[in-house]
Subunit: 377 residues, 2 copies
């Protein structure tokens, strides 16, 4: 039914092998032959059969990008950046596919299986990981298998997998280089270890809290993200480290002034209300991210509180809309685009892995109008 290589070959008066070689361009073909083939391709509007080609060549041109929530610009920006590195003009025929896990560990695993099935060329996992021992082990095992099959693994915005989860290789006990004709098949590219582009969430949260402390705030509420997520933990750790450094006494209240919720607006709204109930005297609220911060602002306003006169509010991530909020949101900027682009290049092997396999991306405090000194009462 569809036009095949053989059809093109017939039309051009050459063999299928020649057409294949012209198309992949990895073998010398005489100029005249080449143009004859190319013309036939044009005339027949031939389009390669991807699956057939992937089967024969044992690799595909799919690159999977796993995100926790594609409707969240945080992920949209990273995904867009990853994909921008695979533009047809840049990286040949790579197809970046974005998979939405919804933050569910099961879906994450399912999508990885799907990608493994497709023999994906690379996989980029973005955003926070769930900290559950069983899931981490399952994830590590799956990633190891994929890596062994030649898939490049890149983590972007999440910490490296724990050492012990990565260790414990398959069943094949290839100690030394016994088993195969050593140094030939093995050297070609090896089971390439996962590469990480991590965000300095801890440092960012720390600087943000220091900013608030410097303004004079002492009663600081924290609407944190979902529990058991790496990002949530790191930001919280940075926050508490800053508190402890400033005055260890502040730590005693920290637990009480922290509520957890999802990374969405309503969590911010509800969280702020809960915080206000627990501590009507708080003078500042830190949010898990900018979206949550917007919810916090809405709740505060609905309670008749002014920002920043009555309560200061700060977010995290510096998404595009943050600067446009009223008042403009103080937040921590993460260079999401740069990080995503780098992850994309790493995934394609167009950039070499950083030493140790982990690159940490700096975060930057963006002090804007939503934070100010507390009322002097």
């Amino acid at each position: 039914m569809a036009v095949t290589l053989a059809d093109v070959a017939a039309r051009a008066g050459v063999s299928a092998a020649t057409v294949s070689r012209v198309l992949s361009g990895n073998y010398p073909v005489a100029g005249a032959t080449r143009s004859r083939v190319l013309r036939a391709v044009e005339e027949l509007e031939y389009v390669v059969n991807g699956p057939a080609s992937a089967l024969a060549a044992a690799t595909s041109d799919l690159v999977g990008v796993l995100v926790n929530d594609i409707a969240d610009p945080f992920f949209g920006i990273m995904a867009s950046a990853v994909q921008s590195e695979m533009e047809p003009e840049k990286a040949g025929r790579k197809l970046a596919v974005v998979c939405n896990t919804g933050g569910s560990p099961e879906r994450e695993l399912t999508y990885l299986t799907l990608l493994q099935r497709q023999r994906a060329a690379a996989v980029v996992l973005t955003g926070s990981a769930v900290e559950d021992e069983k899931h981490t082990a399952a994830l590590a095992a799956r990633l190891r298998r994929m890596a062994e099959a030649g898939t490049r693994i890149v983590l972007c915005g999440r910490p490296p997998l724990p050492e012990d989860a990565v260790a414990g290789r398959g069943d094949a006990p290839r100690s030394g280089k016994a088993g195969r004709d050593a140094g030939k098949d093995e050297t070609e590219d090896g089971p390439a270890a996962p590469i990480t582009v991590a965000f300095d969430n801890r440092g960012g949260a720390r600087r943000l809290t220091e900013h608030l402390l410097a303004l004079g705030h002492r009663r600081i509420g924290y609407v944190a993200g979902p529990v058991e997520r790496t990002t949530t933990r790191h930001r919280l750790e940075g926050h508490r480290a800053a508190l402890a450094d400033h005055d260890p006494a502040l730590l005693s209240d920290a637990e009480h002034l922290t509520v957890h919720g999802a990374y969405d607006r309503s969590s911010g709204y509800d969280g702020a209300l809960e915080l206000l109930r627990r501590a009507p005297d708080l003078t500042a609220v830190l949010a898990a991210n900018d979206t949550v911060a917007l919810g916090v602002c809405a709740a505060l306003r609905d309670q008749g509180l002014r920002i920043p006169e009555d309560v200061s509010v700060a977010g995290f991530d510096d998404l595009p809309f943050s600067a446009d909020a009223a008042p403009a949101l103080t937040t921590v900027r993460i260079p999401l685009h740069e990080a995503g682009a780098r992850a994309g290049r790493l995934a394609l092997g167009r950039e070499s892995a950083p030493p140790g396999g982990v690159a940490t991306v700096r975060t930057e405090l963006m002090a804007r109008a939503s934070t100010a000194p507390p009322r002097a009462d």
Copy 2:
């Protein structure tokens, strides 16, 4: 190297055919045999080879979703909705892949070729289309070919392809049902015509403008989207229709009070400034979408104008952050999630096509705090 069907078959003591049948479940296999096979699959951690399977079955489980800007929540929400319909539990092993065209016609075509190459099961094109005769023709031709190869085509948030572009079928002049053994191969599913889930942009823009007119505004600026985009044109048409209905004289200024730009914040900022220069007396500004509206607000504020006391502002789309802007943005709600989900079901054939192949999604005016009667001077 990797575990194959044959390995599983050997381990289970059956033939490869049997394993394949157990896995796809479309052929009777005795219970005992089935569980033996399943156990072997488990033990060997077998993962199907997608390309091989796609090649043999002549279909793949890829569904392409083309978006103009994945970092824009407008598209993120739709993509997320499409994908939510393909959750592993819902639709078997479908893999929705999101492709970011950046609004470029060439990239759109390139991605379609890539998807055609992969023999995608379906393609969903979202968002406004570029109105260029040549591109439309090329697009229609490509989509026709894909449809002929069995790929389902769904348009979401863009108008149906022009009749004449869709007509003019391939080279095969299958008039009537001559040529093949009529009524057998042909009936199976046929070259399924594209299905459209269109947004009522015109109606929405019209109601929005009527809202402004009812408040008493007469000098209304319009920061429109990119020229040559269907969405831009439709919203502008709705706007002008409302003006004309109210008072034909208003139309004479309309052209002068319209500027075009991209769908981003800075276009809104710059556009508002330009509009203010052209007509310092305007009392309201309509924006191409909510993001642009935020830019408009910023520019207005920077000029010392209050919203809505001095100038009313309205957006379009009702993205999540719009309700949180200060003041809350008057806008037109498009049920993006519902539309995307429907497009997803349509793409999977889980919902039958609407009569005429076109479903139009209603839009709803969300009057909020950013619009008010003009000053009385």
